[in-house]
């Protein structure tokens, strides 16, 4: 007459445990679904009824009430189908009550009784704790990554019922060995010449610095940015799990092994909406691009073309490493600890050496206004990228490959984490004096720049962080920052507005 089945729904990048209570009692034939289901769950009534019938069970012609507890939270997604179907069969007496004890069910059912994959299985399985979970066979790998109990796989409701009735053992499915991860396509060896830009990519990877590439079309900004994730080390276990949860929740294709082990690279188009970028939308609050880039690289090509409101939406996550998406009756905290890489042209016409720009002053001012000062300030590295020399492009030697550079990056990151527990980009100004002391020449150079008004107070700290990374990469044992390091860091922190000449008359 009554059944209580464990399942879970997705909320943001987290699973919430849901208990599906089914009561089959006297009354006119009806099927009620309560406990704040949204439209997608309401539709499961029709799917479940058909699936139960086509799986050779009698649909109980009495009053059926399904309650989704806890009832105050709105629930969404088709992953509760399987739990409801099993609940109805147990409550109707078709399946023994003790057969479902200690099991959680996740999956969507088809009208023919097949069990289909749903997005977000990894966080949902995680929410079920130590229980054994029953999931669609297509969700097998991500479920295994997140589960602490056993993972049972089913492909049809009929199959599941016969296991629960004790007629057959849990079916085994040949999943095949996960393929080797695909060879890294974006290799730094493809970048020829351009020593400054190459080194900037290395510094960005080693220190976790947000980076803006500024250069004319065809100078290779996108190519450089795409080589950033290849330089980053594999994700640690915690990071890989966090990233996998987000990818699973967003319904993104997961790597063959089920676990996201490489830092993700996301490059949303500049027409992307605010919701697409920061997350939100339906009741499940789908993770946005910044969460999918968690522990990886978010690359905004043509950053000036993004809507200003969208860009300003990035400021809080850049500061806190998470994004809080709030709606009227719910709010979710999604991970968003990413490295920001961006590219833009120096001016509307594309620019080039002095004297080649064809833009007038008003167009330049409009272009400069597209990026707000506070956002521009978040970039530790603002690197000019020039078109590579023709010789380098046609006949030059291939550059140093990613493998070699990644090794230096790994060493520098390990050094920073040993020394201060965070990457250099995260050093607070207070710690800089102790961890990145300047020698007298370096100090004098920075002082001069500040006096010339070429460096702001905040820029001063940013340059010191970058200089720390440069020193770590150059010579692991050195504790003080030299003038060389500072000079190079300053070369990588340019302003790109054409200098305004005062009309002051001498």
């Amino acid at each position: 007459m009554f059944a209580s089945i464990s399942s879970a729904v997705l909320f943001g990048a987290e699973g919430n445990r849901v208990t599906v209570e089914v009561h089959v009692g006297k009354g006119l034939p009806a099927f009620h679904l309560v406990g704040l289901p949204d439209e997608s769950i309401r539709e499961s009534r029709d799917r479940v009824r058909a699936a139960v019938s086509t799986s050779d069970f009698e649909w109980p012609d009495t009053k059926i009430t399904v309650n989704l507890a806890p009832s105050p939270h709105r629930k969404t997604g088709s992953g509760l189908d399987l739990a409801i179907a099993v609940g109805v069969l147990v409550a109707a007496g078709d399946l023994p009550t003790n057969s479902v004890a200690g099991l959680g069910f996740i999956g969507e059912v088809g009208l023919d009784g097949s069990v289909r994959a749903v997005p977000g299985v990894a966080p949902m399985v995680g929410a079920l704790g130590d229980a054994d979970v029953v999931v669609p066979v297509d969700n097998a790998r991500e479920a295994r990554v997140a589960a602490s109990g056993r993972v049972r796989l089913v492909s049809t409701l009929r199959e599941l019922a016969s296991v629960l009735l004790g007629d057959s053992p849990w079916p085994e499915f040949a999943l095949g060995e996960p393929d080797d991860p695909p060879a890294l396509i974006a290799d730094l060896a493809d970048v020829r010449g351009q020593p400054l830009a190459r080194h900037a990519v290395e510094i960005a990877a080693a220190g976790g610095h947000h980076t803006l590439f500024v250069g004319p079309p065809g100078s290779g900004k996108t190519m450089l940015a795409a080589r950033l994730p290849g330089l980053l080390p594999d994700l640690d276990r915690a990071g890989a799990l966090e990233s996998t949860m987000v990818h699973s929740a967003a319904g993104e294709l997961l790597p063959p092994g089920g676990l996201v082990t490489r830092p993700p690279f996301r490059a949303p188009h500049h027409t992307s909406s605010m919701v697409a970028l920061v997350g939100g939308g339906s009741h499940s609050l789908r993770p946005g691009e910044i969460s999918l880039a968690h522990r990886g690289v978010l690359f905004l090509d043509e950053i000036g073309e993004f809507a200003p409101a969208v860009l300003d939406g990035l400021r809080q996550p850049l500061e806190e490493g998470v994004i809080r998406v709030a709606r009227a009756n719910s709010h979710a905290v999604l991970p968003a600890d990413f490295m920001l890489a961006a590219a833009m042209n120096p001016c509307p016409c594309g620019g080039g050496p002095p004297g080649e720009c064809r833009c007038d002053g008003a167009a330049l001012r409009r272009y400069a206004r597209r990026l707000s000062g506070p956002l521009l300030d978040r970039f530790d590295l603002r690197v000019p990228v020039h078109r590579p020399a023709v010789d380098d492009l046609v006949s030059g030697e291939p550059g140093e490959p990613t493998v070699a550079v990644a090794e230096r990056v790994r060493a520098a990151r390990a050094l920073a984490l040993d020394r201060q527990g965070v990457l250099n980009a995260r050093l607070v100004p207070r710690a800089l004096d102790e961890l990145a002391p300047l020698d007298s020449a370096a100090s004098a150079e920075l002082r001069r720049r500040i006096e010339l008004d070429q460096l702001s107070g905040r820029g001063y700290h940013r340059v010191r962080r970058v200089a720390r990374t440069i020193a770590d990469l150059a010579d692991a044992g050195r504790s003080t920052i030299s003038a060389d390091d500072v000079a190079l860091a300053l070369q990588m922190r340019k302003t790109f507005t054409r200098r305004a000449r005062s009309s002051h008359v001498a």
Binding site: P346, C357, A506
Partner: protein, 412 residues
């Protein structure tokens, strides 16, 4: 307007104030041709007419040919019946008469004259003795000039210096140096007060503090454009003359700049184009100059510099090269008179590799990538060297490009 009327124009200031006062209290000034217009000098009517919508240089000429601006205004406003060529001019263009009737209310001579007075602008028409004689026999002379400063400075020797707004550092410095050295010889530098070469030439000339300067602008003489040149405009008006074909309050517009160039060209004895693109305004000025038998000189530039493509073409087409101020002075017939002292260059003399780097950045702008490649430096060494040379004042960096700086940089 005749010379005898000039003091009268000044004397009318009081009358105008009074008229305004009357107008404000009794509404008498609102009626067309009201009492307030009675006391205005003829120049006020020229100023009003010149700013009419759909007014062209030719139409203004026809109107002013009547001889009495007051009558011309009344005709344009439809208060008097036009006869002869004016009647056919108004009839030929549909809606022109109606448009001008409307304009005569918007641009009342009282208001326009007040604008001139506020901005310190004189109105000069062709029969005024102050009208620049170079423009009298011009193929396309302006009908009226709006002037700040003293138009008499145009009696001196005059050299025009023009060029692109998007100039290289070398171009800017060349313009400033020519401006400075010409001014030291008492030559009036004529230019357009635009961004880039024009502004640099004027700054150089003013810094010499030895000769007045002249500027021809493409909008109202009281509307500084570009805005960052506001102080420079003022300086030019105070220490020379600022001319415009357009009445005070006229905003900048693309079509007016080429028209301005013909007046600029007509006022020069020699025109020097410092840097210009293939289709730049500098080339338009050069063509206008050639039409008026004004000698055109051009500064040779690197073949790799887009900003010099137009000037190099001028040279190919037969313009005289201007590589030194002496050459320009020779073209004026003033050669050998140059006696000014050379400017002192306080920068430490570069040696060895530094000198080579400065040399390389002088040919064209270089990126740090090119410098470290060419000299086999490490990135850190390259960054250090460039930063040091920048600090010493030998290089200047814009958007990652390094250019060599001459010692005229402070004026450019």
């Amino acid at each position: 307007m005749t010379a005898a009327e000039l003091p009268e124009a000044a004397a009318h200031d009081d009358a105008l104030d009074e008229a305004k006062f009357v107008g404000r209290t009794s509404d008498a000034g609102v009626s067309a041709g009201g009492a307030s217009e009675g006391g205005l000098p003829p120049a006020a009517f020229v100023a009003a007419l010149a700013g009419f919508d759909r007014m062209t240089v030719r139409r203004l000429h026809s109107l002013l040919a009547i001889g009495d601006p007051r009558l011309a205004f009344a005709l344009a406003a439809g208060r008097e019946r036009p006869v002869g060529p004016l009647a056919s001019m108004l009839a030929r263009d549909v809606g022109l008469a109606a448009r001008w009737r409307e304009q005569s209310r918007v641009r009342s001579p009282v208001r326009c004259w007040q604008q001139c007075l506020d901005a310190g602008v004189d109105v000069i028409v062709a029969d005024d003795p102050r009208f620049p004689p170079q423009l009298l026999n011009d193929p396309a002379p302006p009908a009226a000039l709006f002037v700040r400063g003293d138009p008499g400075v145009l009696d001196a020797r005059r050299v025009g210096i023009v060029g692109t707004r998007n100039a290289t550092q070398r171009g800017l410095e060349t313009a400033a140096r020519f401006g400075h050295e010409l001014a030291q010889q008492g030559v009036v530098v004529v230019s357009g007060l635009a961004r880039g070469i024009d502004g640099a030439a004027h700054r150089g000339a003013l810094a010499a503090d030895a000769a007045p300067v002249a500027a021809v602008v493409g909008n109202g003489p009281d509307v500084p454009y570009p805005r960052e040149h506001a102080a420079l405009w003022h300086e030019v008006a105070c220490r020379g003359v600022l001319l415009s074909e357009w009445p005070p309050g006229t905003p900048p517009a693309r079509f007016r700049f080429p028209m301005r160039n013909r007046i600029l060209a007509a006022l020069c004895e020699v025109l020097v184009v410092v840097e210009s693109r293939d289709k730049g305004g500098g080339l338009i000025t050069a063509r206008e100059a050639l039409d008026r038998n004004v000698q055109v000189m051009a500064v040779p530039g690197s073949l790799q510099t887009l900003a010099a493509s137009g000037t190099n073409r001028l040279l190919r087409d037969g313009a005289a090269p201007a590589t030194d101020t002496d050459e320009i002075l020779a073209a004026l017939g003033l050669d050998g008179r140059r006696a000014g002292r050379a400017r002192f260059d306080p920068r430490p003399l570069p040696r060895g590799r530094d000198a080579l780097i400065i040399d390389r950045c002088a040919a064209r702008a270089r990126s740090i990538d090119e410098i470290v490649n060419d000299f086999g430096l490490s990135l850190a060494d390259g960054a250090m060297t460039l930063a040091r040379l920048e600090q010493q004042g030998w290089l200047r960096e814009t958007g990652g490009w390094f250019e060599t700086v001459g010692h005229w940089d402070d004026l450019a």
